[in-house]
């Protein structure tokens, strides 16, 4: 099944991924950068250009397939995960990317989102999280911060939001990464990692909606402060962050704690080393849940645990049954069992 091919055979560039359609997102929308990142990432994966399928639901981000020159499906609200699952099961040599937003994936499509993850179907999900409904012009979403004033919460929302990564872990997710729209190199790198990962990979992109929720991630993305407010995790590397690279995370009892290297006798050796491949998700969950102002927000590949995929399991089971069954054709099925002849 897996053919080894040199990358040259399939080479294509970011330019080949530009579709003829005019990109109609608002000027300054984070979506432009995410599109750009995926166009940078896809040629690095060594996949055939014509084997890529991009599937989306409904929302601003879901216009994505029209703007990228691959096979594309722009479908209905919330259902992209189910449609992408069908594409992959039916034709597993295709590389399937699902584009979705916080409303599409976590509200109307919440059920398909968790079940795709549970089944570990080999698709890549880019979750644009701008904490607002943009295409319907500014209603609160399942990730909107509690208390926020929106068109449907004029006195502030009274609902607790989801943290998407927590949901991924709750659904037994094997791959979760997080990035911000204005960090193009990191976003591109994570898309490449997600593309390589066998199984459902979720990349949450903290994305800014300039019109309806401008600055919702500003605390995290602030140019001056971002190094203190984000920690970019890398597998096998110590969890160090900060402008001066002097801050780190340690485990104290069952809690994470931010420490400063050089203070209170802390040395680099005391800092936790990130293990994205650890099957036990507890530490990953703690990293996903870190919030400002007490903690930096975790970026990078937080969890990446290989497991069998739904599409592989299905094809293996079919091959196994085929090998053992006397029924090889539909005619065999018809004549199998209680059949009688009228002469």
């Amino acid at each position: 099944m897996t053919e080894v091919q040199t990358q040259n055979d399939y080479s294509f560039s970011a330019k080949d991924l530009k579709s003829g359609s005019e990109v109609k997102w608002c000027a300054g929308c984070g979506d432009h950068a995410i599109l750009n990142s995926l166009q940078q990432a896809l040629p690095q994966l060594g996949h055939k250009h014509e084997d890529i399928v991009v599937v989306s639901g409904i929302g601003c981000s879901s216009r994505f397939p029209y703007y990228i020159n691959t096979y594309g499906m722009h479908t209905i609200h919330g259902r992209a995960a189910a449609i992408a699952t069908g594409v992959k099961l039916a034709n597993p040599h295709l590389h399937v990317w699902q584009i979705t937003g916080d409303g599409d994936a976590l509200a109307i499509g919440g059920n398909h989102f968790i079940h795709a993850i549970r089944r570990n179907i080999d698709i890549n999900v880019i979750l644009f999280n701008n904490e607002i409904y943009g295409l319907t012009k500014g209603q609160y979403s399942p990730t909107t911060t509690k208390g926020k004033i929106t068109k449907t919460s004029p006195y502030g929302t009274i609902e607790m939001p989801f943290n998407p990564g927590e949901l991924v872990i709750g659904a037994r997710g094997r791959f979760f990464a997080r990035t911000v729209d204005n960090n193009l190199p990191l976003t591109t790198e994570l898309f490449v990692e997600a593309g390589k990962f066998k199984g459902t990979s979720i990349v949450e992109v903290l994305q800014n909606c300039v019109i309806f929720n401008n600055g919702t991630h500003a605390m995290i993305t602030d140019k001056e402060e971002k190094d203190d407010r984000q920690i970019i995790l890398k597998h096998g590397q110590p969890m160090i962050f900060g402008k001066n690279k002097d801050k780190g995370l340690i485990l104290k009892g069952l809690q994470l704690e931010v420490v400063t290297i050089g203070e209170n006798g802390i040395t680099e050796k005391d800092i936790l080393v990130h293990d994205a491949k650890m099957a036990n998700p507890i530490l990953h969950l703690m990293l996903i849940s870190m919030k400002l102002p007490d903690f930096p927000v975790a970026m990078g590949v937080i969890r990446s645990v290989e497991d069998t995929t739904l599409n592989e399991e299905m094809d293996e089971q079919i091959a196994d049954v085929k090998a053992k069954s006397p029924i090889k054709t539909v005619d065999d099925l018809f004549f199998h069992g209680d059949v009688w002849e009228v002469k």
Partner: protein
């Protein structure tokens, strides 16, 4: 006990097995049907069970029934009323007596007619003693105690012994109608392969019932000869299995992988179960998280080049509406099987009805046309599912195939058709770019677009739920283009009429009354129209399999009759559709909505009145 000839005519007989949900009446009925089919009789069956899996034992709510009609003439229905009623307890007798012909035979387990059970069934006096059953022949067999006696040395526990008493009842009926025991014994050997004690126990009780009937001389055996049946190989299928096999055959002939995305729902689950079994034929089946995912995975699979299907019942069809609209807009082939049940909402989930027709035609936002078909018989589900797949693939449009609980669960002998004898399927699949060939190029005759499967460098395209330009396929908000596309999608479906068979009339080809039906009412309507024709009535039957589009000769057929009576198990949905489609005719209605099929008796009475009134 009277010893009499209990069955008056021997061309055909109807038996109804009834008992508590846990008494195994469905199995008794199935085994009797199988033995009869193997013996060479025509059969038609009708399982009638409650929606509760195990309602309180001994109560009316917990009664489960199975009716089988068998004989050597044509058998189109499971029979209105039974000649023989088997009732394992008082509740079964009480709730099923209305289905027994006057003067028919009742076989009961006398052991169960105790005060406690009589009370549970709501009897205030014992019907065996109060004279209320005087007009029937009663065979009171001690089924429970005989079964216990037969198995006292079997080593089985009390509960397991009682479980086999349905085989004693079956044995009684086998003697009564001279059925061979071998096929049923063979069934035990297969079903309980690793449990020799259970095999022996079932065989012993089956034979016990058979010999009991012989020994006590309570029942006179009857001979019902095999029917004159067209030569060929046969097997028994029910509607759901036949539907699943029709899809498998279509996939094989179209050289495509079959994909089913589905969610369990009564009475459609068996399609999902059957295709889950057929992995050796490469069927890719996923039991989804919900009905919506069922059709959405299928839409994804269709885009990726599979013959894709989803199976459901009415409430599930409601949930799938938006996604069907997407498949209409994307012009993707997909088969949606709706095994109708009584609605609205949860309704009578195990009972049959034809209540979803207007939902299939109009139940989506926007102008959203697709092909709608309806199956007429259990065995006919095979051909209909095959044709649904063929039309979907050749015309690049969703097809909704309507069956219902009655034909889905009912079984019939099916003459096996080899896949090579079925009509060829020519998909719209395009491989390689030829000139200006794109995913959006249409066939001039059918207006179906090309089916481009991902993996082809030259043909990459984007498609979605947004309106598309009629030439380029790009998303378009142009007002005139939208009108053009809405008309085009409707016209594409209407042109399917050029590819389907004409409507046939059974009985008189012109005359006083045209009986119009669709789907599963076929058997009942046919039996009645044939009888009335034989009696000189100028009456014909037009049974529709193709609903949208209607066959091309429909207006011609309608114009040949003075009166048109549309018969449906709803409040008049097809009649309403015909009134808008062919407005020049006047339509009368005959409707029933009780969760049950028509009876021949009520149909006959109605048409007799019409014929006499002219």
């Amino acid at each position: 006990m009277n010893v009499k000839t209990v069955v008056k005519h021997l061309n055909k007989v109807t038996i109804r097995f009834s008992g508590d949900s846990g008494d195994g009446m469905q199995l008794s009925g199935k085994l009797f049907s199988d033995a009869s089919a193997l013996f060479g009789n025509n059969i038609s069956t009708f399982p009638d069970f409650p929606s509760e899996i195990r309602a309180p034992q001994g109560t009316i709510a917990g009664v489960s029934g199975f009716q089988v009609h068998f004989g050597n003439t044509e058998i189109n229905t499971p029979g209105d009323y039974a000649d023989v009623l088997v009732s394992m307890n008082p509740a079964a007798l009480k709730s099923n007596l209305k289905w027994l012909k006057k003067g028919g035979t009742i076989i009961i387990d006398i052991d169960s007619f105790e005060d406690k059970n009589l009370l549970k069934a709501g009897y205030t006096s014992n019907p065996l003693e109060d004279g209320s059953l005087e007009s029937y022949e009663i065979i009171a067999a001690p089924i429970t105690t005989q079964t216990q006696e037969l198995l006292k040395d079997s080593g089985l526990d009390f509960k397991s012994i009682l479980k086999t008493k349905n085989m004693f009842a079956l044995g009684l009926t086998f003697f009564m109608f001279n059925r061979p025991l071998e096929s049923t014994e063979h069934f035990f050997e297969k079903k309980f392969k690793d449990k020799p004690t259970i095999i022996e126990a079932n065989k012993k009780v089956l034979r016990g019932g058979y010999y009991y009937a012989e020994n006590v001389n309570a029942i006179e055996p009857h001979i019902i000869d095999p029917a004159k049946i067209e030569k060929g190989f046969y097997r028994t299928v029910n509607g759901n299995v036949a539907t699943a096999w029709g899809l498998l055959a279509a996939a094989e002939n179209a050289k495509l992988q079959l994909f089913l995305g589905s969610y369990p729902i009564t009475p459609a689950s068996e399609i999902l179960q059957e295709l889950s079994k057929q992995k050796s034929l490469g069927a890719h089946v996923i039991q989804c998280e919900d009905e919506i995912a069922g059709i959405c995975t299928a839409i994804g699979a269709s885009f990726a080049g599979n013959l894709a299907a989803t199976s459901t019942s009415g409430p599930g069809l409601s949930l799938k509406s938006e996604a069907i609209g997407l498949a209409v807009m994307m012009e993707l082939p997909i088969v949606i099987v709706d095994v109708q049940r009584s609605g609205p909402s949860t309704g009578l989930p195990t009972k049959t009805e034809q209540g979803d027709l207007l939902q299939t035609l109009y139940g989506r936002n926007g102008e959203s046309p697709c092909i709608v078909m309806a199956v007429t018989t259990s065995a006919g589900c095979f051909d209909a599912a095959y044709m649904a797949a063929k039309l979907s693939l050749e015309h690049m449009t969703p097809v909704i195939l309507l069956t219902d609980g009655y034909i889905a669960n009912g079984s019939q002998p099916w003459k096996i058709q080899k896949t090579s004898e079925l009509p060829a399927i020519t998909t719209r699949r395009v491989i390689g770019k030829l000139g200006n060939n794109t995913a959006f190029l249409r066939n001039e005759d059918s207006l179906a677009r090309n089916w481009v499967i991902p993996g082809q460098k030259e043909l990459m395209f984007r498609i979605g739920g947004l309106e598309k330009d009629s030439n380029t396929g790009a998303a378009s908000h142009d007002p005139e283009n939208h009108q053009r596309m809405c008309k085009l999608r409707e016209e594409k479906v209407q042109r399917v009429a050029n590819f389907i068979p004409d409507l046939e009339v059974i009985g008189e080809q012109s005359g006083d009354v045209l009986v119009v039906g669709w789907g599963s009412t076929y058997g009942h309507l046919l039996s009645v129209v044939e009888k009335l024709c034989a009696g000189g009535g100028k009456i014909g039957l037009a049974q529709f399999t193709y609903i949208k589009p209607l066959p091309k000769n429909t207006a011609d057929v309608f114009s040949r009759f003075k009166r048109i009576v549309v018969c449906e198990l709803n409040l008049g949905q097809f009649a309403s559709y015909l009134r808008t489609s062919l407005q020049q005719f006047k339509y009368e209605q005959f409707n029933k909505i009780q969760g049950l099929p028509f009876t021949e008796e009520e149909l006959k009475k109605h048409f007799m009145n019409i014929l006499e009134a002219k």
